[in-house]
Protein backbone atom coordinates (compact mmCIF):
# COMPACT_ATOMS: atom_id res chain seq x y z
CA UNK A 1 0.00 0.00 0.00
CA UNK A 2 1.38 3.39 -0.99
CA UNK A 3 1.27 6.01 1.78
CA UNK A 4 3.22 8.80 0.09
CA UNK A 5 3.82 9.96 -3.49
CA UNK A 6 7.06 11.84 -4.13
CA UNK A 7 6.50 14.14 -7.09
CA UNK A 8 8.98 15.69 -9.46
CA UNK A 9 8.15 19.31 -10.33
CA UNK A 10 9.24 20.19 -13.90
CA UNK A 11 6.97 18.65 -16.54
CA UNK A 12 5.37 16.50 -13.85
CA UNK A 13 3.38 18.60 -11.38
CA UNK A 14 3.89 21.68 -13.59
CA UNK A 15 3.13 21.81 -17.27
CA UNK A 16 6.57 23.23 -18.02
CA UNK A 17 9.94 23.95 -16.44
CA UNK A 18 10.10 26.22 -13.39
CA UNK A 19 13.41 27.93 -14.23
CA UNK A 20 12.81 28.26 -17.96
CA UNK A 21 9.79 30.52 -17.59
CA UNK A 22 10.42 34.10 -18.70
CA UNK A 23 7.79 35.57 -16.41
CA UNK A 24 5.47 33.67 -14.09
CA UNK A 25 6.52 29.97 -13.78
CA UNK A 26 4.23 27.44 -15.49
CA UNK A 27 0.91 26.43 -13.94
CA UNK A 28 0.11 23.02 -12.50
CA UNK A 29 -0.69 20.24 -14.95
CA UNK A 30 -4.46 19.81 -14.59
CA UNK A 31 -4.55 16.05 -15.21
CA UNK A 32 -1.81 15.31 -12.65
CA UNK A 33 -3.37 17.74 -10.20
CA UNK A 34 -6.70 15.87 -10.41
CA UNK A 35 -4.89 12.60 -9.67
CA UNK A 36 -2.94 14.13 -6.77
CA UNK A 37 -6.10 15.61 -5.25
CA UNK A 38 -7.88 12.26 -5.48
CA UNK A 39 -4.95 10.48 -3.81
CA UNK A 40 -5.03 13.10 -1.04
CA UNK A 41 -8.72 12.34 -0.42
CA UNK A 42 -7.71 8.71 0.08
CA UNK A 43 -5.22 9.70 2.78
CA UNK A 44 -2.11 9.38 0.62
CA UNK A 45 0.34 12.19 1.35
CA UNK A 46 2.48 14.19 -1.07
CA UNK A 47 6.15 15.08 -1.10
CA UNK A 48 8.28 17.01 -3.56
CA UNK A 49 11.70 16.10 -4.97
CA UNK A 50 12.89 18.65 -7.51
CA UNK A 51 16.15 19.73 -9.09
CA UNK A 52 15.40 23.37 -8.50
CA UNK A 53 16.30 26.11 -6.02
CA UNK A 54 14.63 25.90 -2.57
CA UNK A 55 12.07 28.61 -3.40
CA UNK A 56 10.54 26.22 -5.95
CA UNK A 57 8.92 24.38 -3.01
CA UNK A 58 6.80 27.37 -2.05
CA UNK A 59 5.83 27.91 -5.69
CA UNK A 60 4.86 24.22 -6.03
CA UNK A 61 2.58 24.48 -2.98
CA UNK A 62 1.07 27.70 -4.32
CA UNK A 63 0.55 26.43 -7.88
CA UNK A 64 -0.89 23.04 -6.92
CA UNK A 65 -2.63 23.85 -3.63
CA UNK A 66 -1.24 20.56 -2.26
CA UNK A 67 0.01 20.15 1.32
CA UNK A 68 3.51 18.72 0.94
CA UNK A 69 4.56 16.62 3.93
CA UNK A 70 8.21 17.01 2.92
CA UNK A 71 10.05 18.91 0.21
CA UNK A 72 13.53 18.36 -1.21
CA UNK A 73 14.68 20.98 -3.70
CA UNK A 74 18.34 20.90 -4.73
CA UNK A 75 20.83 19.52 -7.19
CA UNK A 76 21.74 16.20 -5.62
CA UNK A 77 20.64 12.73 -6.66
CA UNK A 78 16.89 12.13 -6.68
CA UNK A 79 17.40 8.83 -4.85
CA UNK A 80 19.07 10.71 -1.99
CA UNK A 81 16.15 13.15 -1.90
CA UNK A 82 13.67 10.25 -1.77
CA UNK A 83 15.74 8.54 0.92
CA UNK A 84 15.68 11.69 3.08
CA UNK A 85 11.92 12.03 2.60
CA UNK A 86 11.39 8.38 3.59
CA UNK A 87 13.50 8.87 6.74
CA UNK A 88 11.96 12.23 7.61
CA UNK A 89 8.40 10.90 7.37
CA UNK A 90 9.22 7.63 9.13
CA UNK A 91 7.95 5.57 6.20
CA UNK A 92 9.12 2.28 4.72
CA UNK A 93 10.49 2.63 1.18
CA UNK A 94 7.91 0.16 -0.12
CA UNK A 95 5.14 2.54 1.01
CA UNK A 96 6.43 5.26 -1.33
CA UNK A 97 5.84 5.97 -5.03
CA UNK A 98 8.07 8.28 -7.09
CA UNK A 99 6.71 10.08 -10.15
CA UNK A 100 9.05 11.79 -12.62
CA UNK A 101 8.83 12.54 -16.35
CA UNK A 102 12.58 12.01 -16.84
CA UNK A 103 13.44 8.35 -17.61
CA UNK A 104 16.98 8.87 -16.30
CA UNK A 105 15.71 10.00 -12.86
CA UNK A 106 13.24 7.11 -12.76
CA UNK A 107 16.03 4.63 -13.53
CA UNK A 108 18.33 6.20 -10.94
CA UNK A 109 15.69 5.95 -8.18
CA UNK A 110 14.69 2.41 -9.24
CA UNK A 111 18.28 1.28 -9.09
CA UNK A 112 19.13 2.90 -5.74
CA UNK A 113 15.78 2.18 -4.05
CA UNK A 114 14.28 -0.95 -5.62
CA UNK A 115 11.42 -1.03 -3.07
CA UNK A 116 10.07 2.32 -4.27
CA UNK A 117 7.28 2.18 -6.87
CA UNK A 118 8.59 4.31 -9.76
CA UNK A 119 6.13 5.74 -12.28
CA UNK A 120 5.91 8.19 -15.15
CA UNK A 121 3.28 10.98 -15.02
CA UNK A 122 1.44 9.29 -17.89
CA UNK A 123 0.96 6.18 -15.69
CA UNK A 124 -0.84 8.10 -13.00
CA UNK A 125 -4.36 8.36 -14.40
CA UNK A 126 -4.37 4.57 -14.58
CA UNK A 127 -2.50 4.09 -11.30
CA UNK A 128 -5.28 5.69 -9.21
CA UNK A 129 -7.32 2.55 -9.91
CA UNK A 130 -4.55 0.17 -8.75
CA UNK A 131 -4.89 -1.56 -5.39
CA UNK A 132 -1.60 0.03 -4.22
CA UNK A 133 -3.33 3.40 -4.32
CA UNK A 134 -6.74 2.23 -3.05
CA UNK A 135 -6.87 1.87 0.73
CA UNK A 136 -9.87 -0.17 1.87
CA UNK A 137 -10.63 2.22 4.72
CA UNK A 138 -10.45 5.99 4.49
CA UNK A 139 -11.02 7.51 7.90
CA UNK A 140 -11.40 11.12 9.02
CA UNK A 141 -7.78 10.95 10.19
CA UNK A 142 -6.70 9.73 6.74
CA UNK A 143 -8.52 12.50 4.89
CA UNK A 144 -6.81 15.06 7.13
CA UNK A 145 -3.40 13.36 6.85
CA UNK A 146 -1.93 15.90 4.43
CA UNK A 147 -3.03 18.73 6.70
CA UNK A 148 -1.58 16.98 9.76
CA UNK A 149 1.78 16.55 8.04
CA UNK A 150 1.70 20.27 7.24
CA UNK A 151 1.15 20.89 10.99
CA UNK A 152 4.07 18.58 11.63
CA UNK A 153 6.28 20.64 9.35
CA UNK A 154 5.27 23.85 11.15
CA UNK A 155 6.02 22.12 14.47
CA UNK A 156 9.45 21.00 13.22
CA UNK A 157 10.18 24.43 11.78
CA UNK A 158 9.39 26.08 15.12
CA UNK A 159 11.38 23.41 16.95
CA UNK A 160 14.47 24.28 14.89
CA UNK A 161 14.06 27.96 15.68
CA UNK A 162 13.16 27.41 19.35
CA UNK A 163 15.72 28.80 21.78
CA UNK A 164 15.33 26.24 24.60
CA UNK A 165 15.85 22.48 24.89
CA UNK A 166 13.70 19.85 23.19
CA UNK A 167 11.89 19.33 26.53
CA UNK A 168 11.15 23.05 26.73
CA UNK A 169 9.82 22.98 23.20
CA UNK A 170 7.52 20.04 23.92
CA UNK A 171 6.21 21.86 26.97
CA UNK A 172 5.61 24.95 24.82
CA UNK A 173 3.64 22.74 22.38
CA UNK A 174 1.03 22.08 25.13
CA UNK A 175 0.89 18.41 24.19
CA UNK A 176 -2.30 16.74 25.36
CA UNK A 177 -2.86 12.97 25.44
CA UNK A 178 -6.38 11.64 26.05
CA UNK A 179 -7.09 7.99 26.83
CA UNK A 180 -10.66 6.70 26.87
CA UNK A 181 -12.62 3.49 26.25
CA UNK A 182 -12.85 2.79 22.51
CA UNK A 183 -16.31 3.08 20.99
CA UNK A 184 -17.97 1.67 17.89
CA UNK A 185 -17.31 4.94 16.04
CA UNK A 186 -13.57 4.43 16.53
CA UNK A 187 -13.56 1.05 14.74
CA UNK A 188 -12.56 2.18 11.22
CA UNK A 189 -9.63 4.18 12.55
CA UNK A 190 -8.60 1.39 14.98
CA UNK A 191 -8.61 -1.05 12.09
CA UNK A 192 -6.61 1.35 9.96
CA UNK A 193 -4.01 1.64 12.75
CA UNK A 194 -3.90 -2.15 13.08
CA UNK A 195 -3.12 -2.44 9.36
CA UNK A 196 -0.78 0.53 8.97
CA UNK A 197 1.35 0.58 12.12
CA UNK A 198 4.67 -1.28 12.20
CA UNK A 199 7.19 0.62 14.34
CA UNK A 200 4.75 0.67 17.25
CA UNK A 201 2.79 -2.55 16.87
CA UNK A 202 3.12 -5.40 19.34
CA UNK A 203 1.18 -8.09 17.49
CA UNK A 204 2.64 -7.76 14.00
CA UNK A 205 -0.64 -9.06 12.59
CA UNK A 206 -3.61 -7.45 10.95
CA UNK A 207 -6.72 -7.47 13.14
CA UNK A 208 -10.03 -7.17 11.34
CA UNK A 209 -12.62 -4.55 12.14
CA UNK A 210 -15.00 -7.36 13.13
CA UNK A 211 -12.44 -8.75 15.58
CA UNK A 212 -12.01 -5.28 17.07
CA UNK A 213 -15.79 -4.88 17.34
CA UNK A 214 -16.01 -8.15 19.30
CA UNK A 215 -13.16 -7.05 21.58
CA UNK A 216 -14.88 -3.74 22.37
CA UNK A 217 -18.03 -5.66 23.32
CA UNK A 218 -16.22 -8.40 25.26
CA UNK A 219 -16.54 -8.21 29.08
CA UNK A 220 -13.16 -9.96 29.46
CA UNK A 221 -11.39 -7.29 27.40
CA UNK A 222 -10.81 -3.60 27.60
CA UNK A 223 -10.02 -1.54 24.51
CA UNK A 224 -8.71 1.99 24.99
CA UNK A 225 -8.23 4.67 22.33
CA UNK A 226 -5.50 7.30 22.57
CA UNK A 227 -5.89 10.80 21.12
CA UNK A 228 -3.25 13.49 20.67
CA UNK A 229 -3.38 17.23 20.16
CA UNK A 230 -1.18 20.25 20.71
CA UNK A 231 -1.02 23.93 19.85
CA UNK A 232 -0.26 23.09 16.21
CA UNK A 233 -3.34 20.96 15.69
CA UNK A 234 -5.35 17.89 16.46
CA UNK A 235 -3.89 14.52 15.40
CA UNK A 236 -7.03 12.62 16.38
CA UNK A 237 -6.88 8.93 17.27
CA UNK A 238 -3.22 7.91 17.14
CA UNK A 239 -3.01 4.75 19.24
CA UNK A 240 -4.82 2.03 21.14
CA UNK A 241 -4.40 -0.91 23.46
CA UNK A 242 -6.40 -4.11 23.82
CA UNK A 243 -6.25 -5.64 27.29
CA UNK A 244 -7.26 -9.19 28.17
CA UNK A 245 -8.21 -9.53 31.83
CA UNK A 246 -8.90 -13.27 31.57
CA UNK A 247 -5.91 -14.36 33.65
CA UNK A 248 -6.28 -13.54 37.35
CA UNK A 249 -3.75 -10.99 38.57
CA UNK A 250 -2.44 -10.18 35.10
CA UNK A 251 -3.40 -7.56 32.55
CA UNK A 252 -2.30 -8.97 29.21
CA UNK A 253 -1.99 -6.31 26.53
CA UNK A 254 -2.71 -8.39 23.42
CA UNK A 255 -2.41 -5.42 21.09
CA UNK A 256 -0.47 -2.21 21.60
CA UNK A 257 -0.22 0.14 18.64
CA UNK A 258 0.55 3.74 17.82
CA UNK A 259 0.92 5.79 14.67
CA UNK A 260 4.57 6.58 13.93
CA UNK A 261 3.46 10.19 13.43
CA UNK A 262 3.09 10.41 17.21
CA UNK A 263 6.70 9.33 17.89
CA UNK A 264 8.68 11.60 20.18
CA UNK A 265 5.59 13.30 21.59
CA UNK A 266 5.17 11.31 24.80
CA UNK A 267 2.18 9.26 23.61
CA UNK A 268 3.50 5.71 23.97
CA UNK A 269 5.07 6.67 27.31
CA UNK A 270 1.76 8.12 28.52
CA UNK A 271 -0.13 5.02 27.33
CA UNK A 272 2.22 2.55 29.04
CA UNK A 273 2.13 4.56 32.27
CA UNK A 274 -1.67 4.67 32.12
CA UNK A 275 -1.90 0.91 31.48
CA UNK A 276 0.33 0.16 34.48
CA UNK A 277 -1.69 2.42 36.77
CA UNK A 278 -5.01 1.10 35.44
CA UNK A 279 -3.86 -2.51 35.89
CA UNK A 280 -2.63 -1.79 39.38
CA UNK A 281 -5.86 0.02 40.25
CA UNK A 282 -7.81 -2.92 38.81
CA UNK A 283 -6.13 -5.31 41.23
CA UNK A 284 -3.56 -6.83 38.87
CA UNK A 285 -0.07 -7.46 40.20
CA UNK A 286 1.59 -7.63 36.79
CA UNK A 287 1.21 -6.39 33.24
CA UNK A 288 2.25 -8.56 30.27
CA UNK A 289 2.77 -7.54 26.64
CA UNK A 290 3.24 -10.39 24.16
CA UNK A 291 5.27 -8.87 21.38
CA UNK A 292 6.61 -9.84 17.99
CA UNK A 293 10.37 -9.19 17.83
CA UNK A 294 11.60 -7.66 14.58
CA UNK A 295 13.75 -4.95 13.10
CA UNK A 296 10.70 -2.80 12.37
CA UNK A 297 9.26 -2.47 15.88
CA UNK A 298 12.46 -1.65 17.78
CA UNK A 299 10.89 1.73 18.74
CA UNK A 300 8.17 -0.16 20.63
CA UNK A 301 10.77 -2.30 22.44
CA UNK A 302 12.53 0.90 23.50
CA UNK A 303 9.28 2.18 24.99
CA UNK A 304 8.69 -1.16 26.78
CA UNK A 305 12.23 -1.11 28.19
CA UNK A 306 11.82 2.51 29.32
CA UNK A 307 8.61 1.53 31.15
CA UNK A 308 10.47 -1.27 32.94
CA UNK A 309 9.00 -4.25 31.07
CA UNK A 310 11.30 -7.22 30.51
CA UNK A 311 11.05 -10.48 28.61
CA UNK A 312 12.45 -13.79 29.79
CA UNK A 313 14.73 -15.20 27.08
CA UNK A 314 13.23 -18.34 25.64
CA UNK A 315 9.82 -18.01 27.26
CA UNK A 316 7.48 -19.09 24.49
CA UNK A 317 4.84 -16.50 23.80
CA UNK A 318 1.50 -18.27 24.14
CA UNK A 319 0.09 -18.15 20.66
CA UNK A 320 -2.51 -15.49 21.24
CA UNK A 321 -4.34 -17.41 23.94
CA UNK A 322 -6.97 -14.96 25.03
CA UNK A 323 -6.05 -12.61 22.21
CA UNK A 324 -8.19 -11.10 19.53
CA UNK A 325 -8.28 -14.36 17.58
CA UNK A 326 -9.91 -16.29 20.37
CA UNK A 327 -12.48 -13.58 20.85
CA UNK A 328 -13.21 -13.64 17.14
CA UNK A 329 -13.32 -17.42 17.04
CA UNK A 330 -10.48 -18.03 14.62
CA UNK A 331 -6.91 -17.28 13.66
CA UNK A 332 -6.03 -13.91 12.22
CA UNK A 333 -5.73 -13.33 8.50
CA UNK A 334 -1.96 -12.94 8.53
CA UNK A 335 -0.83 -15.59 10.99
CA UNK A 336 2.89 -14.96 11.22
CA UNK A 337 4.40 -18.41 11.03
CA UNK A 338 7.95 -18.29 12.30
CA UNK A 339 8.05 -14.74 13.65
CA UNK A 340 10.09 -14.44 16.85
CA UNK A 341 7.96 -13.53 19.83
CA UNK A 342 8.49 -12.76 23.50
CA UNK A 343 6.34 -11.72 26.45
CA UNK A 344 7.42 -8.50 28.17
CA UNK A 345 6.30 -8.30 31.80
CA UNK A 346 6.43 -5.87 34.67
CA UNK A 347 5.42 -6.42 38.28
CA UNK A 348 3.11 -3.69 39.60
CA UNK A 349 3.43 -4.35 43.31
CA UNK A 350 5.82 -5.88 45.78
CA UNK A 351 9.61 -5.74 46.01
CA UNK A 352 11.24 -5.02 42.68
CA UNK A 353 8.18 -3.36 41.21
CA UNK A 354 9.58 0.13 41.73
CA UNK A 355 7.61 3.26 41.01
CA UNK A 356 5.13 2.90 38.13
CA UNK A 357 6.22 4.60 34.89
CA UNK A 358 5.12 8.19 34.54
CA UNK A 359 4.45 10.09 31.34
CA UNK A 360 6.94 12.88 30.61
CA UNK A 361 6.28 16.01 32.65
CA UNK A 362 5.44 18.07 29.57
CA UNK A 363 2.46 15.90 28.62
CA UNK A 364 -0.91 17.03 29.94
CA UNK A 365 -1.45 13.58 31.39
CA UNK A 366 -4.57 11.63 30.58
CA UNK A 367 -7.17 11.28 33.31
CA UNK A 368 -6.36 8.66 35.89
CA UNK A 369 -7.86 5.29 35.05
Amino acid sequence: MIKCVVWDLDNTLLSGVYLEAAGEPPAADPAILAVAAELGRRGIIHALASKNPPEAAAYAAHATGLDFAATECGWGRKSDAVRRIVADLGLAADAVAFVDDDPYQRAEVSFALPEVLVLAPADMTDAVTWPEFSPAVVTAEARRRGEMYAQRRRRQQEAREFAGSRQDFLRYCSTKVTISPAEAGDLPRLHELAVRTHQFNSSGKAVSEEQLRLLIGSPAHRVVAVRLSDRFGDDGLVGAAVVDRGEPGTWTVTLLMMSCRAIGRGVIEALLGWLCRAASGGGADQIAVPCVIGARNVPLRLALAAAGLRAAEGEPAPSEAGGPERAAGGPGPQEAGAARRAVFRRPLAGPGAGPLPEPPGWVAAPAEP
Binding site: Q167, L302, A306
Partner: protein, 89 residues
Protein backbone atom coordinates in the same frame (compact mmCIF):
# COMPACT_ATOMS: atom_id res chain seq x y z
CA UNK B 1 39.84 -3.71 25.28
CA UNK B 2 42.14 -1.10 26.73
CA UNK B 3 41.04 1.66 29.08
CA UNK B 4 41.83 4.21 26.41
CA UNK B 5 39.50 2.56 23.90
CA UNK B 6 36.79 2.32 26.56
CA UNK B 7 36.97 6.03 27.29
CA UNK B 8 36.87 6.80 23.57
CA UNK B 9 33.68 4.74 23.18
CA UNK B 10 32.10 6.42 26.24
CA UNK B 11 32.94 9.81 24.73
CA UNK B 12 31.36 8.83 21.44
CA UNK B 13 28.23 7.49 23.15
CA UNK B 14 27.92 10.80 25.00
CA UNK B 15 28.34 12.72 21.74
CA UNK B 16 25.63 10.64 20.03
CA UNK B 17 23.31 11.11 23.03
CA UNK B 18 23.81 14.87 23.02
CA UNK B 19 23.06 14.95 19.29
CA UNK B 20 19.95 12.73 19.30
CA UNK B 21 18.39 14.43 22.33
CA UNK B 22 19.48 17.95 21.39
CA UNK B 23 20.91 18.34 24.92
CA UNK B 24 24.57 19.38 24.71
CA UNK B 25 24.91 19.09 28.50
CA UNK B 26 24.89 15.29 28.05
CA UNK B 27 28.48 15.56 26.76
CA UNK B 28 29.47 15.78 30.44
CA UNK B 29 27.39 13.00 32.03
CA UNK B 30 29.08 10.22 33.98
CA UNK B 31 29.17 6.61 32.77
CA UNK B 32 26.79 5.54 35.59
CA UNK B 33 24.01 7.82 34.35
CA UNK B 34 20.86 5.80 33.50
CA UNK B 35 19.55 6.34 29.97
CA UNK B 36 15.90 5.69 30.81
CA UNK B 37 13.92 7.48 33.48
CA UNK B 38 14.73 10.82 35.09
CA UNK B 39 18.04 12.26 34.02
CA UNK B 40 18.49 11.51 30.34
CA UNK B 41 14.90 10.30 29.87
CA UNK B 42 15.61 8.48 26.61
CA UNK B 43 12.31 8.14 24.73
CA UNK B 44 11.59 5.86 21.80
CA UNK B 45 12.44 8.56 19.25
CA UNK B 46 15.84 9.43 20.72
CA UNK B 47 16.44 5.73 21.44
CA UNK B 48 15.76 4.76 17.83
CA UNK B 49 18.13 7.45 16.58
CA UNK B 50 20.75 6.35 19.13
CA UNK B 51 20.59 2.68 18.06
CA UNK B 52 20.72 3.66 14.39
CA UNK B 53 23.80 5.82 14.98
CA UNK B 54 25.54 3.13 17.06
CA UNK B 55 24.96 0.66 14.24
CA UNK B 56 26.25 3.13 11.64
CA UNK B 57 29.40 4.09 13.58
CA UNK B 58 30.39 0.81 15.21
CA UNK B 59 28.56 -1.84 13.18
CA UNK B 60 26.86 -3.04 16.38
CA UNK B 61 23.13 -3.81 16.11
CA UNK B 62 22.14 -3.64 19.78
CA UNK B 63 18.44 -4.40 19.20
CA UNK B 64 19.20 -7.58 17.26
CA UNK B 65 21.46 -8.97 20.00
CA UNK B 66 19.86 -7.72 23.18
CA UNK B 67 16.18 -8.62 23.59
CA UNK B 68 15.61 -6.49 26.68
CA UNK B 69 17.95 -3.67 25.60
CA UNK B 70 19.84 -4.11 28.88
CA UNK B 71 22.82 -2.53 27.14
CA UNK B 72 20.91 0.75 27.39
CA UNK B 73 20.94 0.71 31.22
CA UNK B 74 23.61 3.40 31.48
CA UNK B 75 26.08 5.31 29.32
CA UNK B 76 28.79 2.93 30.56
CA UNK B 77 26.92 -0.33 29.89
CA UNK B 78 26.20 0.77 26.33
CA UNK B 79 29.85 1.71 25.77
CA UNK B 80 30.97 -1.67 27.19
CA UNK B 81 28.49 -3.55 24.99
CA UNK B 82 29.80 -1.72 21.93
CA UNK B 83 33.44 -2.11 22.97
CA UNK B 84 33.11 -5.88 23.45
CA UNK B 85 31.64 -6.36 19.97
CA UNK B 86 33.39 -3.69 17.91
CA UNK B 87 36.74 -5.08 19.16
CA UNK B 88 36.04 -8.61 18.04
CA UNK B 89 35.16 -7.72 14.47
Amino acid sequence: MTGGDGRAVVDEVRAILAAVTGQPELLGVGPETPLFGPGIGLDSLAGTLLLREVDARFGVDVAAEDLNLDALATVGTLAAFIGARADGS
